[in-house]
């Protein structure tokens, strides 16, 4: 059975749009799957998603309420796999619930920043002239904003909270995507196939959205994936400073901040969330590297 499916997907003469599109996706998957580390990254990210979804079911204890009397700062044991923190809360449960926050932050930033960067970059690259100049200067301005200072400003204006932290990160994350998209667009716009579509009478909007953006998408996707590690760390940094998630939300960065005071004797309070951040960042990096190798158009056409 799998033999015929494989043959159907790898054929050189697809018989329908769907077969062609699926075949291409299949070829991309096979190229990606040849890289063991990339598969590991994908697996870890998938595990993160699953754990986040099932956190309510899997967490053995309540993540926000702990027994201050008897459970404070217990070492890792059979009852508490990662020990308890200074408020008697089970760290494992907090990590599991915190993974939801991490995913929330990462997804929201990607969904907000990537499309904006893509559109700005392709429009600038295709239009050229003063449109390009203006858009790129705007990009430069946003690139110059340090994320933490902007987050502080947002907090001062709008109050602390995870949503404001996400907004601050997203606003400062889109410029690199714009730059990448613009660089690719400059090369693509000179190609004959774009001239051909122009000659057919396509409007600039149509050319950018339907012909150029699909070609820039792989680079931007790779960059976003590689950035996710940085976004997690930035969110953690904001949480560390008390600017992002507010207590008692089990955000990993805030957990490290809380565990800072106890790091010498009760190292697990800070080490557990730290290890979690490390693992997830590594996973996204591996995934991003693998995606880049697989989505590179020159390699994809083999």
């Amino acid at each position: 059975m799998s033999g015929t499916l494989h043959a159907w997907l790898s054929t050189d003469t697809p018989a329908s749009r769907r077969q062609a599109a699926l075949g291409r996706a299949y070829a991309g998957w096979r190229s990606f799957a040849r890289n063991r580390l990339a598969l590991l990254g994908l697996g870890l990210v998938a595990a993160l998603v699953v754990l986040a979804m099932l956190a309510g079911v899997l967490a053995p204890y309540d993540p926000t309420v702990g027994d201050l009397a008897t459970e404070r700062l217990l070492a890792p044991s059979a009852a508490h796999w990662f020990g308890t923190d200074d408020q008697g809360r089970d760290i494992l449960s907090r990590l599991l619930h915190g993974s939801r926050i991490t995913l929330y932050v990462v997804t929201l930033v990607a969904v907000l920043a990537a499309p904006v960067g893509l559109l700005v970059g392709t429009a600038a690259g295709y239009a050229g002239g003063w449109v390009d100049a203006v858009l790129m200067r705007i990009t430069d301005i946003f690139l110059a904003f340090p994320k933490l200072i902007l987050a502080l400003a947002f907090v001062a204006a709008l109050g602390p909270g995870i949503e404001n932290a996400v907004l601050a990160i997203a606003i400062t994350s889109w410029p690199p995507y714009a730059r990448i998209a613009r660089a690719e667009t400059l090369t693509i716009a000179r190609a004959d196939y774009i001239a051909a579509v122009r000659l057919i009478g396509a409007s600039p909007a149509r050319i950018v959205l339907r012909h150029i953006v699909p070609l820039c998408l792989p680079s931007v996707i790779v960059r976003v994936t590689l950035d996710m590690a940085g976004i997690i760390l930035t969110a953690a940094g904001l949480g560390f400073l008390g600017l992002g998630a507010q207590p008692p939300m089990p955000e990993w960065g805030a957990m490290i901040a809380a565990g800072r005071q106890y790091v010498l004797d009760q190292w697990w309070v800070a080490a557990a969330p730290g290890a979690a951040i490390f693992t997830v960042s590594l996973a996204f990096n591996l995934l991003g590297d693998g995606l880049r190798d697989a989505l590179d158009p020159k390699a994809a056409e083999r």
């Binding site: 050189d12 062609a20 004959d192 196939y193 001239a195 396509a202």
Partner: protein
Amino acid sequence: MTPALGIAGLGLRVVYNGFTALHDTTLHVAPGESFGIVGESGSGKSTVLRALCGLAPLAAGAVRLLGDGAADAGLPAPGSKGFRRRVQMVFQDPYGSLHPRQTVDRILAEPLAIHRIGDADARIAQALADVGLGHTFRYRFAHQLSGGQRQRVAIARALILEPQVLLLDEPTSALDASVQAEVLNLLEALRARRQLSFVMVSHDLAVVTHLCERLMVMHQGRTVELLASADLAAHRVQADYTRTLMAASAGFQREDPTE
């Protein structure tokens, strides 16, 4: 069958960044005629084509469609959608003229979608058949096609809007000799069947005289000579540069080896 259309470029001048690629060039292609432009690199021949279809900005001059004379004023102006339907181009590099992420089907559907022409499915199938590609090619991507097949798709794309003027920018120079012969035959057959006017650019004298009735020889952005292909073939040329080109095209003559 819609009547044939010709195209005229009057005093075309194209300047890129201060460099004049094309100096005040004039050409008239009568309806149904096949016109060739010959020259080496830097002669401006490709620039003429791009000026005719509006891909190159004109610093001076105008482009007009030529009908049978009576209703010429009503013909679409350059840049309009009507003009786009009537004038199309086949590009030189088969490896660069097809979108790398689109199937042949999508590439051919795009012109129909932009001009809101219905019945896309049947038209695409017919376009493929007209250029000698079977239905097995319809959902392939560009990288799954050979050079000759890609060029056929490019021709199908150019012809799917049923234009009356076809601009050809060195359509066979990137192809193997045997594939070139097939594509040249295809172009000739299509021209006869659809009463198209051709404006073809090439550096190859033999190819351009094969397909075209009249020729324009260009050098460094200027017209050197205008002559009929028959005259060129019979060596009845006026300009020295044309003579140089003909001599070079005759090929390498080896001095007798001393052995």
